[in-house]
């Protein structure tokens, strides 16, 4: 389990020291993490929740790592996306042999590995303070990656992202301080045991939640996301949309369902659900009106994040609890894969056409058939058409909503799906139009198209493996 954190960390340091070996280091880290994740999945499926005490120290003082179904699922997802991005980024970064391109490549690999370290640490950590550190590191790596493009818009977006991220972290940290003041511990399990219901903890939870919501870009605190995700290089956008925002969401789940479940009242849950619903509608409507493909995809992320927050209201009752939990996380996984595929396709389109203005993209299906196919498949999953992972996730949420009698959730899911279909259709309509001569100027290496397609296929195939996900998520989840 330590290997999951140390592997990419050491590789990051090495990649920074030996810039020429950056890509090799990324592959080495992918190997180490891949093996570690697979063995961890086996261990968890075979023997339940796994924990590990770093250097033999125990909980209150030392650092505990713990892998339950949720953590393992996210670790695996991160590894999958990171490997895909590694495969994609090599030809992407080598596009031009300019000093800027070399510069970009020099820093991309250490930052990627560093991001990976932070994510893995986040998923395995068990106390609120370590989680803070991991979250902060994640933010730094993400901001630096956004800035990698080096152009004015990207830098401004990065700076805005940094301000949001840092102040959000400080809100979270202040909350941690208050929790410590109340419980004299920051360990998730111990907090859950000791937590008294009272105003101090309410304030603490509110502060932490506020910070995390900003990081997870939940409506109305999503304003920083579209510029940051749209101005970053394509593989970075993919990482940000697929994983980084999910990190904050993951922490929210831990906080609300493990550390302080007593505060998960129907009113609070409904507030989350309302914000989620608003995010779905607002994000989708904005995606419909964007003129640039990457912005469209970024707004689609805002919308898709909204679905994750529907888990909160659906977890209040007994009947829909497990279904909602699995549905939300399946949706998270499917979205991560589909969104990565979409951003990678956007990168291919940018490469081939030199721009991503949707109106002028006629003929994608003709010039980049594999990319267009990937885009279509990713769209299928985002819309939630069967048998994709998006469908399985939405189905679980929908049936949980119906079983709990929360009709509005069902309505929001359906309307959101139709809106998603509408904005995907905007792009696909252009894809099938005949190509205008002069639009497509540069070829795209097959590996860049293949990676996107592979991830889109995973997103679609995920639905068929739904049973497996559910089995995994059952382990160590928030139920008696």
């Amino acid at each position: 389990m330590s290997g999951l954190i140390l592997g990419p960390l050491v590789a990051a340091a090495l990649a920074f020291t030996f810039p020429k070996r950056g890509r090799g280091m990324a592959w080495a880290a992918a190997g180490v993490v891949g093996i570690a994740v697979l063995s961890l999945i086996r261990a968890v499926l075979g023997g339940g929740v796994q924990s590990h005490r770093v250097s033999g120290w125990g909980a209150p003082l030392g650092i505990d790592l713990r892998a339950d179904g949720l953590a393992v699922l996210l670790l695996a997802l991160t590894a999958l996306i990171a490997v895909a991005v590694t495969g994609y980024a090599a030809p992407y970064l080598r596009a031009a042999d300019s000093p800027e391109a070399r510069h970009r490549e020099r820093y991309f690999w250490p930052l990627l590995l560093f991001l990976w370290t932070a994510l893995n640490a986040l998923f395995l950590s068990r106390d609120l303070f370590n989680l803070y550190v991991a979250l902060e590191l994640l933010g730094f790596a993400a901001v630096a990656l956004v800035a990698l493009e080096g152009k004015g818009d990207a830098l401004r977006a990065a700076l805005r992202y940094l301000f949001v991220s840092l102040s959000a972290s400080l809100f979270y940290l202040l909350g941690v301080a208050l929790v410590y003041g109340q419980c004299a511990t920051v360990d998730l399990a111990l907090v859950a045991e000791r937590a008294p219901r009272g105003p101090a903890l309410t304030v603490a939870l509110a502060l932490m939640t506020g910070g995390l919501i900003a990081k997870a870009a939940l409506f109305p605190l999503h304003f920083w996301l579209p510029p940051a995700h749209a101005n970053a290089p394509a593989p970075v956008s993919a990482l940000l949309s697929a994983l980084v925002v999910k990190g904050a969401f993951y922490l929210l789940l831990r906080l609300w369902f493990e550390a302080l479940p007593v505060f998960h009242t129907p009113a609070a849950a409904r507030l989350f659900g309302m914000l989620g619903a608003a995010a779905i509608l607002w994000g989708s409507i904005n995606a419909l009106t964007q003129s640039r493909l990457k912005l469209l995809i970024a707004y689609s992320t805002v919308a898709q994040l909204g679905y994750l927050f529907l888990v909160f209201p659906l977890m209040t009752g007994r009947d829909g609890r497990f279904g909602a939990w699995c549905g939300g996380l399946l949706l998270l996984g499917a979205h991560a894969c589909a969104k990565t595929a979409m951003f990678l396709v956007a990168g291919n389109i940018l490469r081939a056409a030199g721009h991503d203005r949707i109106r002028e993209l006629a003929g994608i299906a003709q010039v980049l058939p594999v990319s267009a196919f990937a885009l279509g498949l990713a769209g299928v999953s985002l819309v939630g058409l069967p048998p994709s992972g998006g469908f399985a996730g939405k189905w679980l949420l929908l049936s949980a909503g119906l079983r709990e009698g929360q009709w509005w959730v069902a309505a929001v899911i359906l309307v959101g799906s139709l809106l998603a279909a509408a904005y995907i259709m905007r792009v696909m309509t252009r894809a099938f139009a005949p190509a205008v001569p002069g639009t497509w100027v540069r070829p795209v290496p097959p590996i860049m198209e293949g990676t996107a397609l592979a991830l889109a296929l995973v997103a679609v195939g995920m639905g068929l493996a739904g049973s497996w996900f559910v089995e995994l998520l059952w382990l160590g989840g928030p139920w008696p």
């Binding site: 920074f16 930052l111 902060e136 630096a144 004015g152 990065a158 700076l159 840092l166 400080l170 301080a177």
Partner: protein, 117 residues
């Protein structure tokens, strides 16, 4: 320090945090905003120290102190990253066409996990 009411420190910390956040939202100058973030951070650290004191024990609780130390390291890195970015943004705004690369942020972040993890 043991003589004063720890609640005072806590309130002072919260006040600092609030002032810092207010300036972050209101100010437009990049340097001022970075300063505001630091003020917010100091507020949080003060709150930590106050809470360490609050525990009814003869000695202050050492754990929050350790946390604050780590927090300071993180805050220094954050400030470095922010300053580097702000510098680049201002340079670009002053002279839009210089396409020079920017690296201190990555150097900063690359060296950090050893301190913090």
């Amino acid at each position: 320090m043991p003589d004063a009411d720890p609640r005072l420190y806590l309130l002072a910390g919260l006040a600092l945090f609030a002032i810092g956040f207010y300036s972050l939202v209101v100010q437009t100058h990049l340097l001022r905003r970075i300063m505001a973030l630091n003020v917010m951070g100091s507020g949080v650290f003060l709150a930590f120290l106050a809470l360490a004191l609050k525990a009814a024990a003869p000695m202050p609780d050492p754990v929050p102190h350790a946390m604050v130390l780590t927090g300071i390291v993180v805050a220094v890195c954050a400030t470095g990253l922010a300053l580097a970015l702000a510098d680049r943004v201002q340079a670009l705004e002053a002279n839009e066409e210089t396409p020079a690369p920017e690296e201190p942020p990555s150097a900063e972040t690359g060296s950090e996990p050893e301190d913090a993890g």
